[in-house]
């Protein structure tokens, strides 16, 4: 069995780990859920430009006073940071598809051995629409997948082959769960960091994704 961690600890751990990867000056789009939390953990001395698909380039935290005229992609109000700009949707998606985004952080239903990502629908159950996700995974230089290691029923989310409809084929660059970091390197998924609560054997038991273990495997960063 995998150890059971507090849900909030899990969410914040994943967000913090991804934030540690972001470089100064990076242009980043954050999806809803755990990805939204990434902006809270951007390390000191690092400034990133947060882009939202509905047209904010340079979004800041939720303002104290709600103003529905300034909405983020997740439907939460946003503030504008100094240096920000507002653009229309065609320009916003031009930025996304055109390779002007260094990273996007998205959630997952499944992510597999080839880096295929499924996160937008469960046929017959949940068909909310892909929104901007298909464009984001196509255009961003690095796609970060932020997900719990297993689903609510304990089934692996890092799977051998996705069974759900894909958001993008072979798009995932880095997968971060509460227990590990997997990076796609030379077309292969490589485990690079592991959390202190689990052993490699435990992790393998709850992961059906094919992955290699990095010779430089180290403890997961960002855990206090």
């Amino acid at each position: 069995m995998l150890p059971v961690l507090d849900e909030e600890v899990v969410r914040h751990r994943i967000a913090k780990r991804i934030a540690l990867d972001l470089e100064d000056g990076a242009v980043v789009n954050l999806g809803i859920g755990i990805p939204t939390l990434v902006s809270d953990y951007v390390p000191e001395g690092v400034s990133v430009l947060i882009q939202t698909e509905n047209g904010v380039v340079g979004a800041g935290p939720k303002p104290e006073k709600e103003d529905l005229r300034f909405i983020g992609a997740g439907g939460r109000c946003v503030s504008l940071l100094p240096g920000s700009s507002l653009v229309a949707s065609d320009t916003s998606f031009g930025l996304i598809r055109g390779g002007h985004l260094d990273a996007t952080v998205l959630g997952a239903l499944e992510v597999d051995s080839h880096g295929n990502l499924a996160n937008w629908m469960i046929p017959g159950k949940m068909v909310p629409g892909m929104g901007g996700a298909m464009d984001l995974v196509t255009g961003a230089k690095t796609v970060y997948v932020a997900t719990t290691h297993v689903d609510k029923k304990g089934r692996p989310k890092l799977v051998k082959e996705c069974t759900l409809p894909l958001t993008g084929a072979e798009v995932a660059g880095v997968v971060v769960t509460e227990f590990c970091v997997v990076r796609k390197t030379d077309g292969k998924m490589v485990l690079t960091e592991i959390a202190p609560e689990v052993t490699l054997e435990q992790l393998k038991e709850h992961t059906t994704m094919d992955f290699e273990v990095s010779p430089d495997l180290c403890p997961m960063k960002g855990i206090d």
Partner: protein, 235 residues
């Protein structure tokens, strides 16, 4: 000021009479921002059915707002035979009516959605995008290889009427936008036979500063001043 370049200012009720049963209707907005709430309320009141709604999302319908918010009301009120959108997850009625086979639903990736509208408005036969390649979105669409890379051919999207939301207008119909309210509105203004713009203010006696204009007035047919509804007055 009576010549043709000066655009008529109407009430929302009068303006939406142009939306007929069976019309395709583009509606601007992303989530709460940039939505022509007053025009939508008038269209709900008018009760026109069999519409093809083309909008990024269908806003909200949930326990807090069972009647729906913005153009979400058009879905709740069962005025749409079809919805073309990129995300409908926050309106439970859109999902339900689609699942029960009572309404057609076409989901389009958001970037492709706006490009299709741009094609419609800018005289292009389609656009080649890498978005959706290798997914079920590819099904039934032409895939074209250019210099070794595969692209989906996305076809133009046009409408009979566009209901858009601007910030300031002058009497020539020139528009500016505010905050995140710009979103799909400028693109939709190019892609419909009739464009009705709801705005926060109509400057009566002088033109807007030409440098600030995002949508040129030639694209706008009718101006409507926003009303004092809950969301119209908060956006």
């Amino acid at each position: 000021m009576t010549h043709k370049l000066i655009k008529p200012v109407m009430s929302a009720e009068e303006a939406v009479k142009n939306v007929k049963s069976g019309s395709s209707v583009m509606v601007g907005g992303f989530n709460y921002a940039g939505v022509p709430y007053t025009l939508i309320d008038a269209l709900v009141e008018q009760g026109t059915k069999d519409l093809h709604l083309i909008s990024n999302d269908t806003l909200y319908a949930n326990d807090k707002h069972p009647e729906g918010v913005g153009h979400g009301k058009l879905v709740v009120n069962q005025q749409c035979r079809k919805v073309t959108a990129s995300h409908i997850g926050l309106n439970r009625e859109t999902q339900r009516l689609f699942n029960e086979g009572k309404m057609e639903l076409e989901l389009v990736p958001q970037g492709s959605f706006v490009e299709r509208i741009r094609c419609g408005g800018f005289g292009l036969g389609g656009v080649l995008t890498p978005t959706g390649v290798g997914t079920i979105h590819e099904e039934g669409k032409q895939v074209i290889e250019v210099e070794g890379k595969r692209y989906i051919l996305e076809l133009p999207l046009k409408a009979d009427v566009a209901l858009i939301r601007g910030f300031k207008a002058d009497r020539w119909g020139n528009l500016t936008y505010f905050g995140t309210g710009r979103n799909f509105n400028p693109a939709m203004a190019t892609a419909a036979d009739l464009v009705i713009a709801e705005v926060d203010a109509i400057i009566e006696d002088s033109p807007l500063n030409a440098e600030d204009i995002i949508t040129p007035g030639l694209l706008v047919d009718i101006l409507v001043l926003k009303g004092d509804g809950y969301y119209a007055s908060r956006t």
